[in-house]
């Protein structure tokens, strides 16, 4: 277990004054990701809310070496930096070991950055990739991404008389990462902060051997239509409804970090949907079957995950 008071003594390297929305949890995720590092960190960001709002010229909120070039090549960037440092060390020009961090939203990870990320992992570059998943292209005005859940209202999949929001299921990206055979892959949420810090620390340690990937739930204030301070509360509900299960895969071994069923805290998905205006149309009694469909998708994924974690599903 992480000692929060000791952890708070570490230096903060993503400072205030950035122009992200009030209550956006993305900078908190970035801040904790930098604090959890055991060595100096070099960061590469994909285009996205965090990148755009923290580095409005001539200001920068990052107190670490940080770079951004394009949307699709975060992982390729860091692969280049990592290799350059390796060569400089070998030539004796510098004598220093770094940690490498990629931080990108779901657009830059699930969709646009997937090819670069997959390639960099396959080539054996050693970096930690943190994805803050806000389930849409929030920076450009809430367009759908492959992380957007079923029936969510976005500007490219608006709710009308016939179509009720996004019609496709969301991509299970953490599983795609598991298929890359990395040493450490995890899914975390801000509501369980000690668990999240532990995962970030484990992720950095795993980069001694391979790349590592952590997917973090990050509610979007304007995109999801929630109140400013609700990001952490909503993360907790997402975890308790099993919409966003907390688990890790270490050397191919699945481990469920928190099981809401065990403590009798599992709640129906409607508790998660009713707090967000992007799902407002589902509260209409006519659309009750859509909620049932949503619940079925969540339960299917949860059952599959439990099987992988070695938890029997027939007892519940």
């Amino acid at each position: 277990m992480v000692n929060i008071k000791e952890f708070a003594k570490r230096e903060v390297k993503l400072v205030g004054g950035h122009r992200l929305c009030a209550g956006c949890p993305a900078p908190t995720i970035g801040k904790l990701a930098l604090m959890a590092a055991d060595k100096e960190v070099i960061v590469s960001s994909a285009t996205g809310c965090l990148e755009v709002s923290t580095t409005i010229y001539p200001y920068s909120a990052w107190k670490v070496p940080w770079m951004h070039t394009a949307f699709e090549n975060t992982a390729a960037n860091i692969a280049g930096v990592e290799t350059a440092v390796k060569v400089l060390n070998r030539k004796g020009i510098i004598k220093k070991d770094f940690r490498y961090l990629c931080i990108a939203g779901d657009g830059g990870t699930y969709d646009i950055g997937l090819q670069a990320l997959s390639g960099a992992i396959e080539r054996g570059h050693k970096f930690l990739y943190v994805c803050y998943d806000n389930e849409s292209y929030s920076n450009t005005g809430i367009q759908r991404s492959s992380a957007t859940p079923l029936f969510a209202n976005t500007t490219t999949d608006p709710v009308g008389d016939i179509r009720k929001g996004k019609q496709e299921l969301r991509k299970n990206f953490t599983e795609i990462m598991v298929a890359h055979n990395m040493k450490y892959i995890a899914q975390a949420a801000l509501s369980n902060i000690q668990d999240m810090i532990m995962k970030l620390e484990k992720g950095y340690k795993a980069t001694d051997h391979t790349a590592a990937f952590i997917n973090i739930f990050s509610p979007c204030i304007p995109g999801w239509g929630i109140h400013d301070g609700d990001a952490v509360m909503l993360s907790k509900i997402a975890v308790d409804t099993c919409f966003w299960p907390l688990y890790e895969v270490e050397d191919g071994q699945y481990k469920l970090n928190y099981n809401p069923e065990e403590s009798g805290k599992k709640i129906p998905i409607i508790e998660f949907l009713k707090l967000q205006s992007r799902f407002r149309h589902l509260l209409d009694p006519k659309n009750a079957d859509l909620i049932a469909e949503f619940q079925k998708d969540v339960d299917d994924r949860w059952d599959k995950l439990k099987k992988k974690c070695g938890i029997r599903t027939d007892l519940v």
Partner: protein, 106 residues
Amino acid sequence: MLSKQEISTGAQARGGSSEDFNTGSWRALRPIIDTSKCIHCMLCYLYCPDNAVCIIKESAKQNGNPEVTGVDLKHCKGCSICSQVCPVHCIKMIPEEEAKKVDKKD
């Protein structure tokens, strides 16, 4: 095509310079911390997206543990995450207008 020597370094900014920028004017609600009830658990400090909770890292009062001292009003956007994560509910959010009136009286 540019040769190796001519490649531009891109735009560069001083690290941490965003601290010079005032985002406090966005605030509609102001957090007021009741330090007599505060247990200095550091959750508000770690959760704050704007890094606007001020602490002393090694406080003699807290036996070398960190101590919460107040809010950095230049950067606080008034999102109220601090007030929601506080386990002892010692952070109150009050309308900025009221808080400004109190400021003027002092």
